[in-house]
Subunit: 409 residues, 2 copies
């Protein structure tokens, strides 16, 4: 029984609903996808509920579930995954937040939630507020792309059940973090104190003085949101006995992979945006599998999700057709011993502009896959054999790669 390797391609938010201007087809039905359809004809196909029927999954909760980590047990908020995605050191029990650098006036009213989409200087700003200790809690900050940052609290008695400081709109005063459960009182207190102290430091920082001189909005406050407690995730490599890597552009998914012990392969073209280098991602993934001895590689392509959020069906069709080209490239370079799974983490219907709980198409291709598909889309795949949940996926992959343990004789 030859063990195979696995390439899991997650087309983020791919699933959609019927769209009037596409003749009541989904973008995936409407798009010209000769390569995806060719793979479907050689694959087991079907539908997957990322979590359970009708459940609207986030990208984080879905990726956790797909990788075999029950989000109902390990997920309290996206903060720790964002922080890990920025290569912050995260330990189980830490409480972490996403943050924006923002601009406030002297009354702490938000003038710009993104501080003029600040591009330079956040590293210096972060250095001035990183490592502050309040009571017994150490506080770490790291900058992300543009106005983005993450915040980690480490200490005793912390809780993820605190409300956001970010008021999520301008012309509003920043919010006080509130404890959402009694045990979060300390965390809220420390968070509020940190935001205040950071404001006092940031508003006087030379980077901001320089920005003001140039007529740019100062990044004079940090607005935390999305509190979550860092979970212990069983190491993926031990759990499945597969050396694992990922090629993903978005920090959130990168952070989930990092916390699971899945090695991120970074390359400049992976942007997590419309302009992402899709062929490049496929090339890096196959290189990792074929030459660098990885047994499992996760690729995430985010652009489909963005088009869904932007409610742009034609754009989603265009993104899907670019993905199809990359799949043509995959077919050219695919070694025989690799099982390819193509699916989505959730649906992001253009008619909704956000994630929905609709099932997503899935196909599992191996040389010996039952060849049962016709086309790769939400409707055609429903005629296939697979009707699984996200939590079944890893077991299906272990089976298709001939790595599953036998239960019984």
């Amino acid at each position: 029984m030859d063990k195979k390797k696995a390439l899991l391609i997650i087309l983020d938010g791919l699933g959609d609903r019927a769209i009037r201007e596409l003749g009541f087809k989904t973008p995936l039905q409407f798009a010209e996808t000769p390569h995806l359809d060719k793979i479907a004809r050689m694959s087991m196909v079907g539908l997957m509920d990322p979590i359970a029927p009708g459940i609207r999954a986030g990208s984080d909760t879905s990726h956790l579930n797909l990788l075999g980590y029950d989000p109902y047990k390990v997920y309290t908020g996206r903060g720790p995954f964002e922080a890990a995605g920025l290569d912050m050191d995260i330990a189980p029990g830490d409480v972490a937040f996403r943050c924006n650098f923002a601009t406030v006036d002297e009354n702490l009213v938000v003038l710009d939630r993104r501080a003029g989409r600040i591009k330079e200087g956040t590293h210096e700003l972060v250095s001035a507020i990183n490592g502050i200790k309040i009571e017994d809690v150490e506080i770490f900050v790291k900058e992300g792309v543009e106005h983005r940052a993450a915040l980690v609290l480490r200490g005793s008695g912390l809780s993820p059940y605190v409300s956001d400081v970010d008021p999520h709109d301008t012309v509003l005063k920043i919010h006080e973090a509130k404890p959402l459960k009694p045990e979060a009182e300390k965390t809220a207190r420390i968070l509020n104190e940190f935001v205040k102290r950071a404001y006092e430091i940031l508003k006087e920082h030379p980077v901001n003085k320089e920005r003001e001189k140039k007529g740019l909005k100062p990044a004079n406050i940090l607005l935390p949101r999305g509190a979550g407690m860092a979970p212990h995730l069983e190491n993926f490599v031990k759990k499945y006995n597969m050396k694992a890597a990922c090629v993903v552009g978005t920090p959130l998914i990168r952070g989930i992979c990092k916390l699971a012990g899945i090695h991120p392969i970074d390359f400049p073209g992976a942007t997590g945006s419309y302009d992402t280098d899709m062929k490049g991602k496929i090339r890096e993934a196959i290189k990792a599998l074929a030459r660098q001895d990885y047994d499992f590689v996760l690729v995430n392509i985010k652009a489909t999700d963005i088009a869904g959020h932007d409610m742009l069906p034609r754009k989603k069709v265009e993104v899907i057709e670019r993905i199809d080209e990359a799949m043509g490239y995959l077919l050219e370079i695919l070694p025989e011993d690799i099982v390819v799974v193509i699916t989505a983490d959730h649906s992001t219907p253009c008619s909704v502009g956000d994630h929905s709980g609709d099932a997503v198409p899935i196909m599992i291709y191996a040389e010996d896959s039952r060849a049962e598909g016709s086309e790769f889309n939400e409707v055609a795949c429903a005629k296939g054999s697979l009707r699984i949940r996200g939590s079944d996926l890893m077991q299906m992959i272990l089976n298709a790669t001939n790595r599953a343990d036998k239960f019984g004789a």
Copy 2:
């Protein structure tokens, strides 16, 4: 509401994957099966995960699950089912093993794991070592076909968590049974002592002296493996209120049936091998249902599984076509009040040479079944209505035979 009777035909290891030399069809897709297809057109069809998606089931764990006994609760190893299959008296709490008669040299190095596939004399050999008592543990041995035997330990404080004595290869010294959990220390000690004592008796036994004289390998040791604790299985007849029988050739499945209170119908043609008399099994099953007043009969045909393990797709096609002939015979003699379920206990793909976690096709035929199938194979059945797990099967049978209890008003 007329109660019907049920014939459950398990085509062991029937499910498969696409095979290059069969034009990327499965053996079941490739084979000419006019009778199975005819039944499909009159049946509800679909796919079944014997345990759960991607889980690689053994024949034992799957049959337990199909019959309504949760293998995660009742299964610790195949030993007790093998022993029961040889008609040994088994009680809950007994720890049992499969064994081989083997040939060892004076250093207990294995020269032949099957003692030259000994055919005669094992009954005499077994008689010399049956009924030994070590500490408070009674030890029973019974011979099977050729070199096969089973061993039962009965006493206090026994555990199934001991490693195999059988080294599973020649030129290796026999292994010491080791406790895999602390509570198995006594069981390992007694098992090792028994193997030693049995060796002392067997090597001097007249049957072996005679074999040596003839230049045959002596069956001078018994090599236990596959320890398991006999579970309490709720009596099938009480559980479902159906008088039940089985027509099976393999001791393992026969043993599961016996422990569940399903009466084995033995007839000489049921061999559990390629040469099994398939029409004979169908004839015996229908006889039991129509004339002997059984309400439920399980038929297992093992030959499909053997061809999968042997990695012989053409042979599997040939076996399937012979099964189809037997199904033609079934259609000729089938009384109207019998529901026929045809499925498999797991897939045994020829490309893998072992069980896989791929779903299996299933069809449920009754005179009043929703007629929805086209052909009976893994791909065509995926278009049908059934997408069930093995643990759902008995409830489906109770429903189709109009025997299910109503829940509510």
